[in-house]
């Protein structure tokens, strides 16, 4: 493969404002029930009562951080493997796309993807997902989410270059291990970030949010 496009996400700067998520919905004319980019919040900690003063509790290790996720345009995209209609392809630049004209709406890809990236469009009966704003890329522009971020926590580029610049972290809680699909994501961890599989916290979103 000549190159692999990837997102860089700086979790140390992300304040969970969801401008990226909404910018994505806006750019792609998605209704509220469809989100191609979602911001997960992860957190935990403890409170324990102190005996000498009634009603007094002490916080220990309370934390939260956020992870903005979309399709990871994986190096080993499992969605592509499971699609019975051969509707999913990976381009030379690594971008994974769904051809809606071939999609039969079986939702296997949604079931298989560890990131929940493919989203079913109920009105058209087909799968959809992040296209890396390939139409904007073709015009020399950035993906909508990247230009939206008020704290400049999102960027994109070639995976190898991003890894050299920002390191090799690609799996923090609540994301799954990278071993399944080798996601094309480079994460600058938050100071509270926990690597996938080592988490002590929980997802801090209500089901309706994500």
């Amino acid at each position: 493969m000549a190159k692999q496009l990837a997102f860089h996400f700086d979790s140390s700067a992300c304040g969970d404002c969801k401008a990226c998520q909404v910018a994505c919905q806006d750019k792609n004319s998605l209704p509220p029930q469809m989100m191609w980019r979602r911001v997960f919040q992860y957190g935990g900690g403890n409170w324990s009562p102190e005996n000498d003063i009634p009603g007094l509790f002490r916080a220990s290790g309370v934390f939260s951080y956020s992870v903005s996720t979309a399709c990871m345009h994986c190096q080993d995209p499992i969605c592509l493997k499971v699609c019975p209609a051969e509707a999913i392809s990976k381009r030379d630049d690594g971008v994974v796309l769904i051809d809606q004209s071939k999609c039969v709406g079986c939702r296997y890809c949604e079931w298989a993807c560890p990131y929940g990236a493919p989203v079913f469009d109920e009105t058209r009966g087909v799968m959809t997902k992040c296209t890396f704003c390939e139409d904007l890329l073709a015009q020399g522009q950035n993906p909508a989410c990247v230009d939206a971020c008020p704290v400049r926590a999102l960027a994109f580029g070639e995976l190898d270059k991003l890894r050299k610049q920002y390191g090799n972290v690609d799996a923090v809680e609540p994301l799954p291990s990278d071993e399944y699909t080798h996601p094309s994501i480079v994460i600058t961890p938050n100071r509270h970030s926990q690597l996938s599989g080592t988490g002590t916290g929980t997802i801090q979103n209500l089901p309706e949010e994500v």
Partner: protein, 903 residues
């Protein structure tokens, strides 16, 4: 934009669009109706969105009172907006940053072009002059009426009530004036403070102007930044968090003090000091005790620049025993305000109070910064007094990298005078004869309670005034008061005609259930609105208002001091929407008032005047010069009166870019250190306080607050138990036995909305679900899990919400976002939307601040059917008619909200 071309375009658009459009024009009575504005359905927006590759990017207004101010740019195709973006007008850098917007601004097109826009004038089916069946307000059917019928009915009711009961029976809730009513003899008004809490009088009396922060770039010189009760991600959208991040990257440590480990802490906080709501004064006093006991305070600074800290430095005439230090040490009241004393109240462990105090006293330079929210409690002046006092004890005043400051909203992370400003619009000042000192905007921060003739009550007293026929007399009106100190009143008409939307007073002032009763008592309620917000839902006549996206010439918007925004028209007024100016002009004609006396200048000329008068700082910082170059061609094209002028940017460039931003760099001539001249020479540069110094003991403050007649405040910071604070959650304080309402509810700014604006947007409902936030230990004790539906009850009202359980919330505290549109289940008396003011009680104190930050509540698991997720609720569409081509863009079921099934 040419209206004719637009119509032509619309008619030659897709078949679907054309059919929709023709339905509209037929319904409006043919082409004659078209002259007043364009009407098309949401299908047009959908059709256009499917091919958004053409079209034109136009800078548009993002005009809300959100605490940010950012560049919003819309991709306009065939008169509808198919996409949005934000600032990309220059390369981005931390010094010269783009003005990037938030999730709310990026949803603006759904707000303007929403299926729930008010399309035409409407009246309540069972309304009749005098009120008709008043009990049906809020539940009645809506009936479409013509503009003529609406205007005639409104004018007739204004006239009837004025002539029968007098001007004082006309009422402006959360408003001080309207141009029309002021010309019509005036109206009873209201005053108070919403955003700023109790800060305004405290900061002006104790500190004069010395409470503002230093310049944005100067934050990077700080070693420590304390952000008290601050969550800029939600409360100051746009750039402030990014600006603070630069200070952090430059080495500053950030400490957050809050009952909630809020989202901004993820970006910034090195340490979190948890504290119970409404008890921050106790925490500050405990810190002061530690500083005094260990001689950590900056005595030399206090001696030279302040008055009232200790007995040796008191203002002349003051009782020496009233000094702050002796209060903290408990010299006269035998209660030393030790960290242990504080901890019992504020819930912060004593060792944490000590280490926090140690750190702020020994780290220089430090920014000691508070938001307003923490001062939104009854008797809230005490917090502001204590915050300034403890800050001043560290000496971080008038120095680079330091500040003792109240900073929030679009000013957060910015200090100093604006570098670029708009000109005035040229309209004469509006003076309400019954509230001459009230100003133009809501009586906000009204500062002259001694002034005679101010027929106005605190926001917190509005509904009681309607229901009980009396309100508290300010000092200037004492001679007209009854023996009980109250002014009698007979309020019969509520007037909510405004520029577009906002001022949703029923939703945005404490005591919604009481407010609904008040709405159902008066003779008449009229609003202009773009959606059926809460005031409009409970009104008799609702008029369709335009948004700034529909305004002819556009205009300026201001926010942070480094830039100014210009917005353009996107479309002709939608449906039958009209501007507030047009509505008041038409009413004036019907009331025998010459419209030229209230609006002598067209809206186009007003916008032009603000262009002509716009100023920008000179490049060397030595003064200001005109901002906009205006040519004779511009003037001709705009059809306004004026002369050409030379400025920094051409009008055409300003329209195209939508922003003028002053380029900043470290060492530029625009820096600002708050209070530097005073610090350098306090004798030559005295403050405008009574003594010229910073007043820790401030008699002027006590006198001023007393003049409002609502409560008193001692001249130095002292802890006084707030109403519905932590203490009131107990049935027996000494034995620590909780009462019927064991939790403290905090009303927070929330990501979904700008106050109550944007509550109707599906994608924001999804992103921000209006969840009740609760500590995990409390939830466990109540058998509650995340996503459960819970019933929250206060002494004043009830709501149901989904609960979010997290360790990020202090035990005993629950939080809920302000501004949800109250959705009352009439049979159960429960608000399903979770408007915080359904729960918040009315407790008028101080200068009329709203005590939103501590309300006692009970939480139980809801045993009825679970609440449907908000984003699946239908739009609040007042009338579904056959010509309505509204989109079902995001909701699944077009039915009305189904009633909750009780347990």
């Amino acid at each position: 934009m040419s209206e004719k071309n637009f119509i032509k375009k619309a008619l030659t658009d897709t078949v679907l669009t054309r059919r929709s459009f023709l339905k509209w024009s037929a319904a409006l009575g043919g082409t004659a109706a078209l002259a007043g504005g364009l009407k098309f359905g949401l299908k047009a927006a959908q059709a256009a969105a499917q091919a958004p590759d053409s079209g034109q990017w136009i800078p548009v207004a993002c005009w809300h009172n959100c605490g940010g101010r950012c560049l919003n740019v819309a991709l306009v195709k065939d008169g509808v907006v198919v996409r949005q973006k934000t600032d990309d007008t220059h390369p981005d850098s931390p010094d010269f940053h783009q003005q990037r917007g938030c999730a709310r601004g990026r949803s603006q097109r759904h707000h303007v072009f929403g299926a729930d826009r008010i399309k035409y004038p409407m009246k309540r089916k069972n309304w009749a002059p005098g009120g008709g069946n008043k009990e049906l307000r809020g539940v009645d059917e809506w009936v479409r009426i013509s503009w003529d019928e609406a205007l005639n009915d409104i004018a007739s009711e204004l006239k009837r009530i004025k002539e029968t009961y007098g001007n004082k029976s006309l009422f402006l809730p959360q408003f001080a004036s309207s141009r029309l009513l002021s010309a019509y003899g005036g109206a009873t008004a209201s005053y108070g403070v919403t955003s700023d809490g109790s800060w305004l009088q405290v900061q002006s009396q104790m500190a004069s102007n010395l409470y503002t922060p230093n310049d944005r770039l100067d934050y990077r010189k700080s070693k420590l930044v304390v952000l008290w009760a601050s969550n800029p991600i939600w409360s100051s959208g746009g750039s402030p968090t990014y600006n603070y991040l630069q200070a952090k990257k430059a080495g500053a440590k950030f400490i957050f003090v809050d009952p909630f480990l809020n989202d901004s802490t993820q970006v910034l906080a090195d340490e979190w000091i948890p504290v119970r709501p409404s008890t921050d004064t106790a925490l500050l006093l405990g810190m002061a005790y530690h500083m005094i006991a260990n001689n950590l305070h900056d005595q030399a600074f206090l001696d030279q620049y302040t008055l009232g800290f200790d007995a040796a430095h008191m203002p002349s005439g003051a009782d020496p025993k009233e000094n702050f230090k002796d209060y903290v040490l408990g010299t006269y009241d035998n209660t030393p305000k030790t960290p242990e004393w504080a901890s019992e109240i504020c819930g912060t462990p004593p060792d944490v109070i000590r280490s926090f105090a140690q750190e702020i006293a020994t780290t220089k330079p430090m920014v000691f910064q508070s938001s307003s929210s923490v001062a939104r409690i009854s008797f809230g002046q005490q917090f502001c007094q204590a915050f300034l006092t403890v800050g001043w004890m560290t000496g971080n005043v008038g120095i680079p990298g330091g500040a003792v400051t109240h900073s929030y909203h679009s000013g957060a992370s910015y200090g100093g005078a604006p570098l670029v400003t708009p000109g005035g619009n040229g309209l004469p000042a509006v003076i309400n004869p019954l509230f001459p000192g009230g100003g133009a905007y809501g009586g906000y921060g009204f500062a002259a309670p001694e002034k005679p003739g101010s027929y106005a009550m605190a926001f917190e007293e509005m509904w009681d005034a309607v229901l009980n026929g009396e309100y508290t007399a300010m000092q200037g009106l004492k001679s007209e008061a009854k023996a009980n100190g109250k002014i009698p009143c007979d309020l019969r008409l509520m007037y909510f005609i405004r520029a577009s939307s906002g001022a949703n007073a029923l939703n945005q002032s404490a005591g919604i259930p009481k407010g609904i009763k008040a709405f159902r008592k008066v003779d008449f309620v009229v609003t202009s609105d773009i959606v059926l917000s809460t005031v409009s839902k409970y009104a008799d006549i609702v008029l369709p208002a335009t948004t700034p996206w529909e305004q002819d010439l556009g205009g300026f918007l201001t926010g942070n001091p480094e830039m100014i925004l210009w917005y353009n028209q996107v479309t002709e007024p939608l449906y039958e929407a009209r501007t507030g100016q047009w509505i008041e002009t038409e009413l004036a004609k019907r009331l025998g008032i010459d419209p030229n006396t209230i609006y002598p200048i067209s809206m186009e000329q007003q916008a032009f005047n603000s262009l002509v008068g716009a100023k920008v700082i000179k490049e060397d910082g030595s003064g200001y010069e005109p901002l906009v170059t205006i040519t004779t061609d511009d003037i001709k094209a705009l059809g306004v009166n004026g002369k050409p002028q030379q400025g920094r940017i051409s009008f055409q460039d300003l329209k195209t870019k939508g922003v003028y931003q002053v380029k900043r760099y470290p060492g530029d001539p625009y820096g600002f250190i708050s209070g530097q001249a005073f610090r350098n020479d306090p004798v030559a540069n005295p403050l405008k306080t009574a003594s010229g110094k910073l007043e820790i003991h401030c008699q002027a403050l006590s006198d001023k607050i007393a003049a409002y007649g609502l409560s008193t405040v001692p001249p130095v910071a002292q802890y006084r138990k707030p109403v519905e604070g932590y203490e009131d959650t107990f049935a027996d304080w000494d034995k620590k036995i909780k009462g019927d309402y064991p939790f403290q509810l905090v009303t927070i700014h929330y990501g979904r909305r700008s106050h109550s604006v944007f509550d109707n947007i599906g994608q924001l409902r999804r992103a921000f679900p209006q969840e009740l936030m609760m500590n995990a230990l409390d939830a466990k004790a109540l058998g509650i899990q995340s996503d459960d539906t819970v019933l929250v009850s206060s002494r004043w009202g009830k709501v149901v919400r989904h609960v979010y359980v997290s360790d990020r919330v202090v035990p005993g505290v629950v939080l809920l976002g302000e501004g949800a549109w109250a959705e009352m289940d009439e049979s159960l008396g429960i608000d399903k939307a979770g408007a915080t003011n359904t729960l918040n009680g009315t407790h008028p104190t101080g200068q009329g601040e709203e005590p939103w930050n501590s309300c006692n509540v009970q939480v139980v698991k809801w045993t009825g059917a679970p609440l449907e997720y908000d984003y699946k609720w239908p739009h609040r569409v007042p009338i579904h008619d056959s010509t309505d081509v509204r989109s079902d863009e995001w909701h699944l079921e077009p039915d009305i909200i189904t009633p909750l099934k009780g347990a």
